[in-house]
Structure formats: structure tokens, C-alpha cells
Assembly symmetry: C2
Homo-oligomer: 391 residues x 2
């Protein structure tokens, strides 16, 4: 049997690794921890970048689902926020956010028309559409729930989604005008167009995705304008492409992940380690064989995503030579054979260890609260108010 | 622009595909749906298999996190339930489950000792351990929170985890006696040993994993008995191995997924399509190009897992030729180029479509409620009471 000395008798935990900004012994593991200062720096840097390039910033709040963070993004100059679901929009509106874009091709059946009508009375609201059919369903539902005359002006704005190469949703840019015209005919405000250059999520693809995004937004805007419909907003953005976007084609950015960053962004080279602002803290619960330890943060805390180009199922920021080689729902297996002998003590049974998840949006959606640390102390707890608001 | 006819004007949805047991128009998508009859058959079949082989059944409740299902499993003859976290144990105890095994190598710092002491007063409780160090922490914490004399008998039982080849947690079987002796010396009940043959989760590996499980449990039991410690329980099991387990080495089974099954089990050949008892229902929200549709059930509903041997990010049970080729948080991209022309109508914009997730445990953990259908009608809603109880 592997013979491993017991953890510190007083706390049951090893002390924080020297220099770690993550581990706080009084937080029970597994838990997500935000480095307040790194998060503030990320918010500020993206706001400055957007302002310097004359681009409006509308951060995607699906990453954090936290009113406490949206408030900080707005205070730093964001125009409004982006969300993926109407449920998220409702949560942020309840918490005082006044300008929300649902960047999703909603199909407005069931209770969606009613919810949109109610929400658009309270906040400046825009939604995505990528087909004439979806606009017609939206028009019909708004007519039904609001009792308005067909085509009477609604407070709701529509942004036409165009595809820039991700091959997910989004119309061909040249077809944007048809959807925009259907929306205008339905009495909806036509706000502009949007796209998501998500093919930036692969090594070396950021520049290509950024070029594709610019071309699609130019073509989409030209389509609207050729049809006599002004295109006020040309919205794009993803965290891998945002910092290199200089304006012109794009006049609004919607990055989300940048507020925390994650192991994917590290692997893509989008950020440096000191810009990572969220980690899971875990306890070493098992050390069953030499070179292998097991942490209590599994896929139900970190999220299970592992793109083939990621170096593991997350990274250990304080022990970069350690590799997370296996992930189950409640177990992360870490190979520490590459770790120098001196660095192994902080990875012994009972030690508290930080793990940066591969995809932070997924990890945050699994949490109910984020523990906020600054200077090695727990300073706040932020409610993940929109956790589970995925409809 | 792809020109796609509008959905049915009255409901905004296409009618259920002929023969589908999943889609129920009044359920707003995305949502998880349980086929009550298939679920009941799965519960009954596993209970019969265990009984016929003289094996006790202790289903893993992390799969469903639903008291409504645990109650049915117990009524069908299960000895008790298995959970992965103390939080899950507490939720099921609150709902009347009286016998719970936390199949996890707990490291009993923080509030864990107190919670274990309290819970063991209310239910028959056992926990996993795979190191002497973890048993010593547990002993110390129980002494501290209960005020008992060192080594005085506790109500809590310990099961020693042994590794059978997964290389996750678990001691070498021959070392089990050291951990068992530490537990006995600490005044804990030594209940036996357990292992998880999780290397069964790969094509063609079930028989190997089952053999490995039998060997590890025999060796572990022999280790205890050679040290004079009776080994009452030899607990194993996973859904891919359970149906082929005939007893002898294993006298308790802990499968979890079998209650619903999923796309992984289909790919492994563990189950047939009619034994799949849970699917996400989704709406076709975008059909931006010929051969491609987009559903509103993404990774925040289905879970993001995709093992390399799975045929996609989930399967469409009613349209098996369709392939889920891409998955983002709120989008599933489905390639329908292989779908016969006649079968394309039910996949048009606005249609309701069922998707079986790759890993059902992950999908259920993301939900707050399961919609229960029988005979094409919504008959119940089950609360996922332990969603998020992952500590």
C-alpha cells in the first residue's frame, strides 16, 4: 500500500502552496473560487480595448450568470449584456440590468411570446432570428399575447443572425435582408446583425475566424442596406478573437469567457496564467499508487469538456507539471509523476489543490455560488443567480 | 436562403413523429422526459436479475437524483441506495430512504464529520475509504464531534475501496486489510469491500472488466479474512457489466445508468433502443442550410460528454439516420443529409425532436425536474431533488 503521511493534524489540510492565490482552507471543497483582482483586471482590460477601438461591449453573461459581475461590466462601460436564453434575460432584468440581447434564434412558441412581451416592457430587449419563419412565429405570438393589430410597432428589437463559418445557426449573410424585412413588416425594431466566430476555438484559428467574422458582418450589413434597412449594429466577438478586433466591420463585441478565462484559453494562447480568474478548489482524497492522486472535483464541478487540443481535463495552476489525466463525475485523477519531489508535499492526501476548468461557462453553470477571494482571504460570495436558467 | 415552410399554425409545432414515445407538445423545450413504462421495466429487470443470482442490489442514485425513482427501486427489492456525495445521502434520507452507501473515499474535514455523525443517527450509513490516513481523519473527526471516547463504537460503517483496473481511486486488493483494521480499531463497523469496474465503458470491455472486478473482490475479501476481519459485502457493478454478473465473487451490485440508459449504453450494446427511458425534447429552432438543423437542447441540457466511440453528441431515437455532429451550450447541430426525404418533415423548423444524451447522469444533474410521460401523455413531474448536491 502506498504509505502517505497524514495531513496537518489541526486543520486536516496542508497549508496553501507557497504563492497560491486560490486555496482558502475555510472553504469546503469542491467549490469554485474567483480571484477578485484578476476578474477586475479582465473586466477593465476588455472595456479599455473596446473603448480604444470605438466598439461597444456587450459581454456574454452566460459565462458567469452572476448579477454581481454584470453590474461590474456595466460600470466599466458595457452597453448592456448578452444572454443565451430568455430565462437568463429574466434573471438579469430582475437584478436591474436594463439592456439585454438574447443572442439566440428563438422559436417563440409556448410561453415565450408572453415572456418576451412582458420583459420588453421592463428592459431594452433584442432577440436573434435567422429565418423568416421564426420572425413570423414571433409576430403571430406577439399579436396574440399583446392584442396589438398585426404589424403594430412593438418594443422588441430583432437582430438577424448570420453565419461566418462556424456552420451552426445563422443565415447566409446575403440573405439577411429577407429576415430583416419580415421583422420590419411585423412592426419589430430591426437593430442590425450578429454573428459568432466560434471556429476561433481551435489552435491557430483566431485570425481566420476574425477575418470570416468581418466579412460576414460586412456582407450582412450590405444586404440590409441594399434593401433600404439601416444596419445600426454589427455584432460579433468571442474571447479568442476579441482582443485582436480593431473595429470597422464589427461595432459591438460579445465575448463572455474573458471575465474568468479557463484552461482552453490558456491552451489557445488567448490569456496568460495571471489572467485566469476562476478555479475549482479540491481536496486530495486518494493517493492510491505512486504518481497518482485523486481530487474531489470531478465533471459535476469542472464540467466534462475536453477538446482534443487541451492538455488534460483542466490544469493545476500551482503545479503545472501535474496532468489531469482522467475525469469522472466526482473524481479527477492527476498524474504527478512529472512533478518535482519538492512540489509533491502540497499534493499529499488532504491537501487543498486548485484546478482551472477547461470551459468555465460549463463549470459555473454547475455551481450555485462563487467564492470570491482577494489577498488569500474569502471576501464575498456571489450567487450564480441564473444557474439552471437554460430555457 | 433555405426556404422552409412554417410549422403548424395552431400549435407552432409539428405533430409528434409517428410512433414517438417522447414528444409531448405541451412540454416547453428543452426539457428532459422520462418514459415511465421503460423506466419501470428497467427497474424490474435489474431487480429480477439480481434476485435470480442471489445478489443484493444497491442502485447508484447519482444517475437520477430523484426520490421518486429511489422509492421505486427499493419497492422492487433494492437493499438500499448508493450515492456519490454526502449531500446526496442527506437529500435521500430526508425523503425517507433508510439505507445509504456513500461510495466515495471521503476525506472527513470541515463539516463532514458532523454531517456523518448526524446522518448515521437517522439512517443505516456506510462510507468508502481507500487509505489508513482517511480512516484516521474520520476517527479523529467523529471523536471530536460526538465526544465519544477514542475507538468507542460508532454507528457508521466503512467499506474499503479496492481498485480492479480502472486506476482511479481504490487500494490494491491485497492492502485492504490495513484499512479495514484501522477502521475496526477506530470503532467503526467494517462492512466489506467495494470496487468500480468502470473500464467497462469502452467497446468490448465489459467481460474483461467483469473478470477484473471478480478477481479484485476475491483478493480483497481474502485480505480481510486473512487478517481475521469478516468481509460481509463484496460490492461491484456498473451498468455495462451488471447484467452479465452471476454472483460468487460479487454479492452486491451498484449500477446506476440502467434505470434510464443512454446513447453510451446503446453504443456499447448494453441495451436496446426500447430500454432507453430518458430523452431530451428539443425544438428545431434553425434550419440554416440544406441538410443541417439546429436544436435548442445543447450541452447545458444534454451534457457535453462525447467519448470517441460514441456516434455523435447524442442520438435521435425517432430518426436514427440523423447525426448530432456539433454541440454548444445551447445548440445541437444535426446533420440530416442521411435522412430519407419522407422523414425530413418531422425535422422541420418548429418541430419537437427527442435526443438521447450520451451520459444520462450528467444530463439529469443539469435539470431541476423530469417530465414523466406514458402513452403519449404527461403523467407526472419528478423533482431532481439532489441536483447540485455534489458535495
Amino acid at each position: 500500500m502506498a504509505c502517505i503521511p497524514l495531513a496537518d493534524r489541526a486543520t486536516g489540510c496542508y497549508k496553501r502552496p507557497v504563492g497560491s492565490r486560490w486555496t482558502v482552507p475555510e472553504i469546503a471543497t469542491p467549490a469554485l473560487v474567483v480571484d477578485l483582482e484578476a476578474c477586475a483586471r479582465n473586466i477593465s482590460a476588455m472595456a479599455s480595448h473596446a473603448a480604444a477601438n470605438g466598439i461597444e461591449l456587450r459581454p456574454h453573461a452566460k459565462t458567469h450568470k452572476c448579477p454581481a459581475i454584470a453590474t461590474r461590466q456595466l460600470a466599466a462601460g458595457a452597453t448592456g449584456i448578452t444572454v443565451a436564453t430568455l430565462g437568463e434575460a429574466e434573471v438579469f432584468a430582475e437584478h436591474g440590468v436594463g439592456d439585454v440581447f438574447v443572442a439566440y434564434p428563438l422559436w417563440a412558441v409556448g410561453d415565450i411570446g408572453q415572456r418576451l412581451a412582458q420583459l420588453s416592457e421592463r428592459v431594452r430587449l433584442s432577440v436573434g432570428a435567422d429565418s423568416v419563419a421564426a420572425v413570423e412565429v414571433l409576430r403571430r405570438e406577439l399579436d396574440r399575447v399583446t392584442g396589438r393589430s398585426p404589424g403594430q410597432a412593438a418594443r422588441l428589437a430583432v437582430r438577424v443572425e448570420v453565419d461566418c463559418g462556424l456552420r451552426r445557426s445563422g443565415a447566409a449573410p446575403a440573405d439577411a435582408v429577407h429576415i430583416a424585412r419580415a421583422a420590419a413588416d411585423a412592426g419589430l425594431v430591426v437593430d442590425g446583425i450578429f454573428t459568432f466566430p466560434g471556429h476561433s476555438y481551435a489552435p491557430g484559428m483566431a485570425a481566420t475566424a476574425r477575418d470570416d467574422e468581418a466579412r460576414a458582418l460586412c456582407d450582412g450589413a450590405a444586404s440590409l442596406e441594399a434593401g433600404g434597412i439601416p444596419c445600426r449594429v454589427r455584432s460579433g466577438g468571442s474571447t479568442p478573437t476579441a482582443a485582436g478586433t480593431a473595429g470597422d466591420a464589427v461595432n459591438e463585441l460579445r465575448p463572455g469567457v474573458y471575465v474568468f478565462n479557463d484552461a482552453q484559453q490558456l491552451a489557445l494562447g488567448t490569456c496568460q496564467p495571471d489572467a485566469v480568474a476562476l478555479a475549482a478548489i479540491a481536496t486530495v482524497v486518494s493517493a492510491p499508487a505512486p504518481g497518482r492522486i485523486v481530487l474531489d472535483a470531478g465533471a459535476k464541478v469542472l464540467g466534462p469538456e475536453r477538446p482534443p487540443w487541451a492538455p488534460g481535463h483542466g490544469v493545476l495552476p500551482d503545479r503545472p507539471a501535474a496532468r489531469v489525466t482522467g475525469l469522472w463525475e466526482h473524481h479527477a485523477v492527476v498524474d504527478v509523476t512529472g512533478t518535482a519531489k519538492l512540489d509533491l508535499a502540497p499534493l499529499r492526501l488532504g491537501a487543498q489543490v486548485a484546478v482551472v476548468p477547461n470551459h468555465v461557462c460549463t463549470a459555473v453553470n454547475l455551481a450555485r455560488v462563487l467564492h470570491v477571494v482577494a489577498g488569500g482571504e474569502l471576501v464575498d460570495r456571489w450567487e450564480v443567480a441564473a444557474a439552471g436558467a437554460n430555457r
